[in-house]
Amino acid sequence: MNRWTGRAASVEEWIADFRSRPEFMANVTHWHTTPARPARTVPFPETLHPKLAEGLGSKGIASLYTHQAEAFAAARAGEHFVVVTPTASGKTLCYNLPVLQRILEDDSARALYLFPTKALAQDQVAELQELANLMDVDIKTHTYDGDTPPEVRRVVRLAGHIVVTNPDMLHSAILPHHTKWVKLFENLKYVVIDELHAYRGVFGSHVANVIRRLKRICRFYGSRPQFLCASATIRNPKEHAQRLLEEPVRLIDDNGAPSGERHFVFYNPPLVNRQLGIRASSVLETQKIAADLLKSGIQTIVFARSRVRMEILLTYLQELVQKDLGPKTIRGYRGGYLPRQRREIERGLRTGEIRGVVSTNALELGIDIGELQACVINGYPGSVASTLQQSGRAGRRRGSSITILVAGSNPLDQFLVRNPEFFFGLTPEEARIDPDNLLILLDQLKCAAYELPFEAGETFGAESLEDMLEFLAQERVVHRAGNRWHWMAQAFPANNVSLRTASPENFVIIDVTEGHRVIGEVDRFSAPTLIHEEAIYIHEGVQYQVEKLDYPEKKAYVRQVNVDYFTDANVAVDLKVLHADLEEADGLLTRQYGEIAVTARTTIFKKIRLRTHENIGSGPIHLPEEELHTSGCWFAFADEVFEGRSESERQTALLGVSSVLGRLAPLHLMCDPFDIRVVPQVKAVHTKRPTIFFYDRYPGGIGLSRKLFDLHAELLREGERLIAGCGCENGCPSCVGPADETGERGKELALELIRRTLAGVPA
């Protein structure tokens, strides 16, 4: 460490220094070190085209990592595969090699690349073009997305060897116009799908259907492409790929790439009030650690759970390090920033001009930002897979890297930070999709019928195709002629079907401080909580107040302000059971699964002071309510479990248990905690008993609550473990919630409820 500048010569030195500082180490609950690993390589395969060998050679590549060689062989053998290796392990070469080889051998061969976002697609084209130039061959790679100008589109359709696009574009622009892509579909040899893990939940369920449509069209043109996929670490890459592709898939996960030594540190902010279980703010602790890294000259990425958090952290950090590093060296990054701004930040990170970035999970995906040295994660990202992805952003082939996870005060974070062995023992989450969700399937079936008539005997999804087509015939959108069903309506169905929960109907945010300037976007579902009138909207560390929200026009008008608070909105949820499909009882617990209707309305917002995070005021929100029909499961407790307990004690117990189970549920389900919601009702209309409801936050459901219906025993046991293991006296934000919210004896009552219930549940 340079005593004069305070800068560390290397990240290794910073780590050693950190370890010597008691004020930090007192809060470290676990330190996990993964030793450096050498590369395992094999010589170029003999079958590798000499041009390719030459091109790789001029990039300084003289051999392949073992997983790259395996992928090359698998592709040559005609197999579908999915590669699962960490960031910076040379994953893209796994699919680029076989694709380029094939095009070198046969100029008419075509490949289609799918990336979840436009940015990733553009990175990829640059890389492919570089390789083609090095080989001095004419392989045409084009992006085809919403930004492609019309005159270029024609060229891409006719002459592009490799078309790089996203699932949304495939869905709404390519497949419904497949007759213009005859050359592509007739000669399609490979479909490359990277970031396979991103296709989960609703989005994944739609994409699985888009792939069904793609395969259907390929069959029509007589081609049968191979699928070459890559994914970040998830528990079930092979199963997920097979579910998505409905083909047998080979798993390639024997990583041959080298990696430097990696440190993973669990950090729990110190208790400031032991009795009430109140800990120092994770935001402030995160800021302290990140500032220390940045001031030491270490390029650092900071992840935050929410956009608001991310912006607050950015504001704090910019203030702290401005005089050391200058203002433009710490940047924010999230969805909602305009694409040009994001490209500029990515470039700055690669060149090293930008020394620090504060991001939401938007940077989890494989956007190329180079290899950073340190990563600070503010709050458990909600899943093992996400945590690994974020941590992988700091990780280099040579040299050490460090990730510090700063726990929040919520039960899930506290559970993990106090049971680190649990985290490291956890396999990453499953990516789960439900391509046969009725509404998704029906919507996709319409798109498929538009593209090609259906014939008797075809299949599309798990439901009876004929029944679904009959339904559409009654709805007068398809017409049966003999053994074929034809699309017969004026509508263009793909326009009415969005693949993502975040619908394309984004709200734009217009800064009216000086003239009118669009500064960002917010998706429809987040709009009521983020940009209601009077909300403080933070963008790149600058505060704006929302002056007017034009809900029908989807515009928010904001003006720059300088205040010492941010805002947080409350959502009121009303829930009604429509139909119960499944029911099971274990002793005192009755579980049901079925369809429910949920209405959600944002009611009030709180003003929260910066830094101290105290509540300094509130105001009403007047926005229309949103109705959701979805699937849910609910646990109804028999009266016996509450024996001897008053009405208010029952309420306290139920509230505590639901808060714990709600936080733990995402751990066992899919990645995003926002996909599943929990609502306790002391006397539910449907069950007439104290009940905890869980529901999928998507119309029709995506199979999450169905899974919870079976997982109840595991969930309850972990809940018990969490509450019993918490060091607080009467409940705290880390378990059942603080006593002043849940009631005096919240912890004890919740534990009693769980234990009495578990007594009747078979082990």
């Binding site: 339904f471 007068r476 959108v477 017969m488 309506a489 139909h579 029909h629």
Partner: protein, 451 residues
Amino acid sequence: MSTLRERLIRLGAAGRAAGGDFPARPEERDNGTAVDDAAGRARAGSEQGTGVREDGWRALGAAEARNEWGAFLLRRETYPPSHRHGRHRLGDLVWALPLLAPVTERQNRRAPDPSARPSGAEAVLFLDLETTGLGVGTGNFPFLIGLAYVEDGAFLVEQLFIRHPGEEPAALAHLLDRLQGRTHLATFNGRAFDWPLLVTRFVLNGWRPSGEGPLHLDLLPPSRALWRNALASCRLSAIEEHRLGVEREDDIPGVLAPTFYFRFLEDGNPAHMTGVLTHNERDLLTLASLAVHLGRLAGGLADPRETAEWTAAELLGAAAWLDAHGRSEKADPLYREIAGRDEPGMFRWLMAAAERWRRLGRFDEAVPLWEKAASIAERSAVPLPDAHIRLAVYHEHRRKDPAAALVYAERALALSAALPLSRGSSRAPREREEIRRRVERLRRKLAASRD
């Protein structure tokens, strides 16, 4: 477990299947579910029996046609050369179509090919599709293919009606047959819509497009060139009403055609199609009439009595169109005619006409137009200085008469200063500065010549 249909209805899938823009059916009843309704209709249809339907079709003049691909319904109508549709005779196609050669040459920019000119009226196939939707996506289905062509001087209309999607290949094969030996496709927006849609249909039915396809004689671009500034809309219905003297009675709006076809698909009653067939046939006749109209214009054959009815905007549109097609000599009289007009907005048309003469170096023609435009500007509430500037330049450089030039330049400066700021746009200050410099230069020149 409930049935699939019940589950779908509970999830709110019913009624939104069409994406909400399925046109309302006027005779929709409130009672009974959609199932019973449709089933009832289907039964009624079958009980009616094929005999009744055959009669219905015969009444429409349609009969089943067959080829190796199957059957479809064909309706034919022959019009003698003397038949007038609006103000034009269909027989005039024989000489009017070849006059449109410059249009097809411009629209089919391929390697120079003698076949880019229609060798005669018989080489042209008129085409107009009725489809179930908009756009050229794979799910847009052409249920009626309207064709027309000239044979032995007569105008033959053939309508290929596809009673159900299974009949599409036979109808497409018939269309291919009619394309045999014909080089050009005459349409209204066929380059962007009708033909690409047909290519999609060929591909979907297993044919692969080979070669370049027919050459286009798309009448939409010339119509736009002519009437963009003269008519409120360049739709075929507006053009025929205002320029071709065609009056349609009892016509169904084209946008309703899909609705009638969907009804026909449900109950098989030919009566639903009457209006659509008539509409499509009239569109084909109008297309022919429009071709005659444009051919006459291209040939410089527009009657002076006819052009007298046109607005200045239309004269200019037609004249510029002739210029663009290498028919400058035919355009001259139209430009001259603009000079004699006195209509609202004349300033713009005079300036445009003068600009054309200026580019040809014909200042004798341009100057009177500028003078007229200048006098309009003098009287205008928002006076543009453009004509004065042109005249100042002309007198300074052509006539070498700085005194006359200065008069115009000073007036230009005064007008420019009088322009309300809001009309000035961003170019105004710079323009004013340029005029000021011109005035100063002219004054210096004058002073120098006096010395």
